[in-house]
């Protein structure tokens, strides 16, 4: 038996969560730490491994189930000259160059004049809903409770929805299960 998995990575949200953990200051506002590229390259493989272990732990039934990745969706800001000196620019450029390695359906998004990304959450939600029939399990890597409504809609549709993140909030509560990034090796500590 095969369970098809789709992963949705809310890049900057997880990056912030990771940075807070790295700096040990949960309420810090200015965060610069980036997710390790090596971990991103292995993200799909490691997530599937952790997910499989999670299901097997919940029931022996899953011992014979194969977990197959369908797609990984993420979005990065499309940067312009005004920000090309920043560390973020170098980082995103590096991701664009290596995205073949971590097999993501990357899209690009213009930053607004205030350098705030617009439409990242709504972009991910539209993809989750549009491609829901292609997978049995939707993995939402984010600590943004805005995804709780999408998770509820997917569960109503008969999918499993798994939260992957650092925080215990509304999104985790709405999902069928969760992987706490503090307790996994997905991103190096």
């Amino acid at each position: 038996m095969i369970k098809r998995v789709s992963i949705y990575l809310d890049f900057d949200n997880i990056r912030n969560g990771y940075a807070k953990v790295q700096k040990g200051q949960r309420n810090s506002q200015a965060l610069k730490t980036h997710l390790p590229i090596a971990d991103l390259k292995n993200l799909n493989e490691n997530l599937i491994k952790e997910l499989s272990a999670f299901y097997v732990k919940s029931s022996e039934f899953y011992a014979n189930v194969a977990f197959e990745l369908v797609d990984t969706w993420s979005i990065i800001p499309l940067l312009d000259a005004s920000v090309n000196k920043s560390g973020s620019y170098k980082f995103y450029k590096k991701i664009s160059e290596v995205d073949d390695y971590f097999k993501m359906n990357l899209d690009e998004m213009y930053r607004g004049a205030d350098l705030k990304e617009v439409g990242v959450d709504t972009w991910l939600i539209t993809k989750m809903l549009k491609y829901r029939s292609l997978s049995d399990i939707t993995v939402i890597c984010s600590d943004d409770d805005d995804f709780a409504y999408a998770a509820a809609a997917l569960i109503r549709h008969g999918q499993d929805c798994i939260h992957v993140g650092y925080q215990d909030g509304l999104l985790r509560e709405e999902c069928n299960g969760y992987l706490d990034l503090m307790e996994t090796q997905i991103f190096s500590k």
Partner: protein, 199 residues
């Protein structure tokens, strides 16, 4: 006999409120209920002049998203009382719109932090429901009453969906949203007809 097209209307209170405030260059604290009483008839009227005028339009619901005080606030120590009061006031005001036939108030349970003034959860719930209804083919035309570029991905997705949808931006501004949509209705030309005071 005319062919039939079904439609749904989605209203983003937060961005429309902001546009109205900018339009008046002052604070009109909350959108008058008359706006919601008139918006659907003005949209249908406008469509009679459009490229879809040969179709008979059938309503499938108008949805607006109102913040509800969720259980989570009660446990938050740093919640700003003014923010809570504003949301309560907003909630009580818009409750009157529940009397309007075909208009549904959708609750958005929110977390409110100190100094936070934006209402993010409303957008994600709107997008989720609009996509969900689209995937179930519950409408042919989406009228999005909003002025926020956060909705551009929704419009783009619906325009390229397998069961293609007509998308209309209904609002005061937001050029990106307007250019992404199939068509648009400029509300700044209909201020009086919508029950808003004259600028």
């Amino acid at each position: 006999m005319k062919n039939v097209l079904t439609y749904q209307i989605y209203i983003d209170l937060a961005s429309i409120q902001k546009s109205i405030n900018e339009c008046y260059e002052s604070d009109l604290p909350l959108i008058p209920i008359g706006f919601f009483e008139n918006i659907e008839s003005k949209i249908v009227e406008e469509m009679q002049e459009s490229s879809l005028s040969n179709f008979r339009l059938v309503p499938r619901g108008c949805f607006m998203y109102v913040p509800e005080i969720g259980y989570e606030y009660k446990t938050m120590e740093d919640t700003d009382d003014n923010v809570i009061q504003n949301i309560k006031q907003m909630r009580n005001h818009y409750r009157a719109a529940e009397e309007i036939e075909g208009l549904y108030l959708e609750n958005v349970h929110m977390k409110v932090y100190k100094d936070q003034t934006s209402i993010k959860g409303m957008q994600s719930k709107l997008v989720t429901q609009a996509m969900d209804h689209a995937m179930h083919d519950n409408y042919d035309i989406l009228f999005l009453v909003a002025d926020d570029n956060e909705f551009v991905p929704l419009i783009k997705e619906l325009r390229t969906a397998e069961n293609l949808k007509y998308t209309y931006h209904v609002g005061f501004k937001s050029d990106q949203l307007r250019s992404a949509a199939f068509g648009s209705i400029d509300l700044s030309e209909k201020v009086e007809a919508l029950g808003l005071p004259q600028v």
